[in-house]
């Protein structure tokens, strides 16, 4: 009898231990123990070739499409952010290869967000490139408090909680055959000293059930989130950061830092398709916050004719802004803060409340894509001080101050003569071509398959020349 009791206890213990062991194995599969900083560097090293393979179950893929279609039926846009679980395998030419299980996947962006698959008139399944985001820290459907939830909530990959994937969309029927435009432009910004995202590129495959589809070359872009802030700014004593706003045009209303403020600032409510020109990204007080003192003060200070130069320097990182204006003028993206009140973040430093502008979205740059220059010369002929600045109160104000205008010209000249050069761009396009073009063609990837530097030689040379001429003309006039 005693033997039976002991045996039973031993068996139960063994079962419990085995059960715990299995459970730990189940949980451990979510853990990413890799060296994050090393992976971050590899990911954003543009000389390293890399692929992401993203595997959906058929059920998850169908749910992704269904959710997007339902959102479209309600709001006329696909901006549904419902997360679906995917497995992600990363491989690079440094020998790194690993798989992360149950990563969150959602589509992203406004103009480049697509259904990844549609069915056409003849019943044919059509794949479509779409921009998307992987959320390594997505907790999916695991209840709060479970081990899975806690592990996933803190999971990172590449030293990032999330990673954005953007494809080079066609403009007026033509692909950007250079394919590096976004990543290269972001690199120029960082080289110029601007706080900007890290970006790189590589191949993406989607696997749905038994089907694998080459989704083409994507740009991998570091999100502007708490991880990003931690990389570039100091937090306060309790590791909190200042307010971060994402500024984008909404329904063709530009997100200039102009009066009136009205109802332009708020917290987006994605499920209801409610979006603000200035959408608070953090410190939201569980979505209930209604005061936006720093941003309102910034707008009012800029608008106030009595504001002194010194006051401007208090509320705004002017040097950073001038750097951004100068390098962006060379990059020639007109869908930006300066010319379109779009595609930037405003961060208020935690101790000083001083604003720093952080630009994003550079796929239409460097002589490619949609431009406000209707002549199809991609701003090459624009004066460095253009009348178009009159619509932008902040730029108009800053560049009307002689000292700041002189510094802007100085930065422009420095960047034009040191950073802004076609040769490295061409070399990088050639490297991309060598690494990927054969595969793109043979595997019939989506997007551009033939890689070349398109009109970039002309753009770089003509832009630099006209900018230097414009600088000289203004200095002569002074």
């Amino acid at each position: 009898m005693l033997f039976l009791l002991v045996a039973s206890i031993a068996t139960l213990s063994a079962l419990r231990i085995r059960s715990e062991s299995i459970r730990m194995e189940l949980i451990e599969r979510f853990i990413n123990n890799r060296r994050q900083n090393r992976d971050y560097k590899a990911l954003f090293d543009r000389s390293v070739t890399k692929t992401f393979t993203i595997t959906f179950t058929q059920e998850a893929f169908d749910a992704l499409i269904l959710n997007m279609e339902e959102y479209f039926a309600l709001y006329g846009t696909y901006r549904d952010n419902t997360m679906q679980p995917v497995d992600v395998t990363y491989r690079d030419s440094l020998g790194n290869a690993f798989t992360l299980l149950e990563v969150g996947f959602r589509t992203k962006s406004n103009t480049t967000r697509n259904l990844p698959m549609t069915t056409n008139w003849s019943g044919r399944k059509i794949w479509h490139q779409t921009s998307f985001q992987l959320q390594f820290d997505a907790t999916l459907d695991y209840p709060a408090g479970t081990n899975e939830y806690e592990i996933l909530r803190q999971r990172e990959a590449f030293d990032l909680a999330q990673l954005n994937f953007e494809y080079a969309s066609a403009y007026e029927g033509n692909f950007d055959n250079a394919l590096i435009t976004e990543a290269y432009a972001q690199g120029l910004l960082r080289d110029a000293g601007v706080v900007a995202q890290n970006a790189s590129y590589g191949l993406v495959y989607l696997v749905v059930g038994e089907v694998m589809k080459g989704f083409g070359i994507y740009t991998f872009v570091e999100p502007i989130d708490k991880t990003f802030l931690n990389r570039h700014f100091k937090p306060d004593a309790i590791a909190e950061f200042g307010d971060l706003y994402k500024a984008t045009d909404v329904d063709d209303v530009k997100a200039y830092l102009n009066l009136p403020i009205g109802q332009r600032i708020g917290i987006n409510q994605n499920p209801l398709n409610i979006r603000y020109l200035f959408a608070l990204q953090n410190n939201t007080e569980n979505g209930l916050r209604t005061h936006h003192d720093n941003l309102e003060r910034l707008i009012e200070t800029v608008a106030d004719p009595a504001t002194t130069d010194r006051k401007l320097l208090e509320v705004l990182d002017v040097e950073s802004l001038l750097q951004m204006l100068a390098i962006q003028f060379l990059i020639g993206n007109t869908d930006d803060f300066r010319f379109n009140g779009n595609n930037y973040y405003i961060y208020f430093e935690v101790y000083t409340d001083r604003a720093v502008l952080i630009p994003f979205d550079f796929d239409n740059s460097l002589g490619y894509g949609r431009s406000q220059d209707g002549t199809d010369r991609y701003t090459v002929d624009w004066d460095v001080f253009t009348d178009r600045d009159e619509a932008n109160a902040l730029v108009n104000r800053i560049l009307s101050i002689p000292a700041f205008a002189a510094r802007y010209l100085e930065l422009l000249e420095t960047y034009a003569t040191t950073l802004f050069d076609y040769a490295p761009f061409a070399a990088e396009v050639q490297a991309l071509k060598n690494a990927y073009e054969t595969i793109l063609i043979e595997e019939d990837h989506l997007g551009a398959q033939v890689i070349h530097a398109r009109n970039a030689a002309w753009y770089f040379e003509a832009k630099r020349e006209t900018v230097l001429e414009s600088i000289a003309a203004h200095r002569d006039a002074d």
């Binding site: 697509n114 066609a170 029927g173 209707g374 002549t375 073009e437 019939d444």
Partner: protein, 508 residues
């Protein structure tokens, strides 16, 4: 009746044979594809060994030495819908000019090795009251007993019923092929056994520096769910639309372009450019209303108030003002217009502005000071160079260089065509026009030369005649320089002689 799979097999075999028969440099091959996934991460120094696939490029499309073939795939439902819509339109308005668009898939192949499929392309028939017919032939019982050629248009950027902002809408709206949003296909008329008449006529305009549609040839198949219809040889013609304006004229700093009008003889009469405009003659045509405007706005449809055009008419017709010649030079791109008048006279299209107040576009090019200059853009040259409609007799060879009566009495007299005859009444312009005529018809250096026609003819014949015969295509199968309304060489010789003699006599 041949069973469909067998027919398809025979078709594919024949097409293969036909492809092999094309000269060696023109052999069409289908690119092989592989599903094997390669690993780009294996090495950072991977070298490219696969050559890029031939592209369906604009240049390849309009390279006349490049063999081209389009296969247009309909579902039977869509093909029947196309016919039903055309018949309903006929019942309502007495013509088949229904522009309802049907979905097709297309396969483009060319002699450079391109083989490009494009799905969900828009298809509609094209042509005027007389030339637009059903693509099928019915017997008296209404049964389909065959097919017939009709001109058509492919619309690569058609969005069908997809809602705006949907993935399909965004992708289709933004889509181009050959760097074009649309492409026109015009069947070769039975009377044009040389096949290249329209192509060469357009090329003449382009070679003297005028802006005119790019043109080439292609062989067409319809694929009706496996039933292959060898649909014949067609001219492929660049459409004159906003893309055309952008390509040739550009846009201003703010992305604006001028107003473009298609000017054709329609319900309200000839497009004579007299200053007696009926309000219903000008605007954006709505084909479902059953009639077309004479002056059809093709750009700035939502913002133009037609004032530029009306102002142009007013000034063109105010010939009593003291400085009229100067006014004309301000409102018309005079040099290009005088060139067009000269080349038009040589080409001898009786259905153009000067002869018939028909078939041209006017683009109002914005000048820097807020003014506009009209640029004349010819189109529809299939009846020219000695073939087709012959209202003047002898294909217009003997027409007076300076003045002749219009092709149709409803127009009135030559003085009812102000853009031609108000200009030619001014001696300096008339002299310039004569000089262009002499230059273009110069036996040694002139652009207007039979040799050019002959060379294009030989190229086209060698590329297409074999397959047209092999597959028993509709329309033209056997090429001939002489078995046309008038032998081509005769037209060129006599036209050149007539023009040079008239001017020579006048000047001596």
């Amino acid at each position: 009746m041949i069973r469909k799979p067998l027919l398809a097999l025979v078709f594919l075999l024949c097409v293969f044979l036909a492809s092999c028969a094309v000269t060696t440099s023109q052999t069409i091959t289908t690119p092989t594809t592989t599903t094997t996934s390669s690993d780009p991460t294996a090495s950072t120094t991977t070298t490219t060994t696969t050559s890029a696939p031939a592209e369906a490029s604009y240049d390849a499309l309009f390279d006349n030495t490049n063999f081209k073939r389009f296969t247009i795939r309909f579902s039977m439902a869509n093909f029947n819908k196309l016919i039903e819509d055309m018949e309903n339109y006929f019942d309502a308005f007495g013509s088949y000019r229904d522009n309802t668009i049907q979905e097709v898939d297309i396969l483009y192949e060319d002699g450079r090795g391109a083989a490009v499929e494009l799905y969900e392309v828009g298809f509609r028939t094209k042509g005027n009251i007389f030339s637009r017919v059903l693509p099928i032939v019915r017997n008296e019982q209404g049964e389909t007993i065959g097919y017939q050629q009709v001109s058509f248009q492919l619309e690569f950027n058609e969005t069908f019923r997809h809602p705006e902002a949907s993935t399909q809408y965004k992708e289709l709206k933004n889509r181009m092929m050959f760097d074009l949003e649309q492409l026109n296909f015009k069947f070769i008329r039975a009377f044009d056994s040389a096949a290249v008449t329209e192509l060469v006529a357009f090329d003449f305009y382009r070679e003297i520096g005028l802006i005119a549609a790019n043109t080439s040839l292609a062989i067409i198949y319809f694929d009706l769910e496996g039933v292959i219809v060898p649909y014949g040889l067609f001219s492929v013609i660049e459409p004159i639309d906003d893309e055309f304006v952008k390509r040739y004229f550009g846009k201003d700093e703010f992305g604006n372009m001028g107003d473009l009008y298609k000017c054709v003889w329609q319900n309200f009469g000839p497009a004579d450019l007299k200053n007696d405009l009926n309000p219903d003659e000008i605007g954006v045509s709505d084909y479902m209303a059953g009639y077309r405007m004479t002056y059809q706005l093709r750009t700035n449809k939502n913002k133009s108030d037609h004032s530029v055009f009306k102002n142009f008419l007013q000034k063109l017709n105010a010939k009593t003002v003291p400085n009229y010649a100067s006014v004309l030079s301000q409102i018309i791109d005079m040099d290009s217009w005088l060139k067009a008048l000269a080349m038009g006279f040589l080409v001898g299209n009786p259905d153009d502005y000067r002869s018939d107040a028909n078939n041209y576009y006017l683009y109002f090019y914005p000048l820097s000071d807020g003014l506009y200059q009209a640029v004349y853009l010819p189109f529809d040259n299939d009846q020219a160079l000695g073939v087709g409609w012959n209202p003047f007799g002898n294909y217009g060879i003997d027409l007076n260089v300076w003045n002749y009566q219009p092709a149709q009495q409803w127009i009135g007299s030559s003085s009812d065509l102000p853009m031609a005859y108000n200009i030619l009444a001014i001696s300096s312009y008339r002299t310039q026009y004569e000089n262009y005529l002499l230059a273009y018809s110069d036996p040694q250096t002139g652009v207007f030369a039979y040799q050019r026609f002959y060379e294009e003819y030989v190229v086209a014949r060698d590329l297409y005649e074999y397959e047209l015969n092999l597959m028993n295509h509709l329309g033209l199968q056997n090429f001939s320089l002489n078995d046309r309304s008038m032998p081509a060489e005769q037209y060129f010789e006599q036209k050149i002689q007539s023009v040079r003699t008239q001017i020579g006599n006048a000047r001596s």
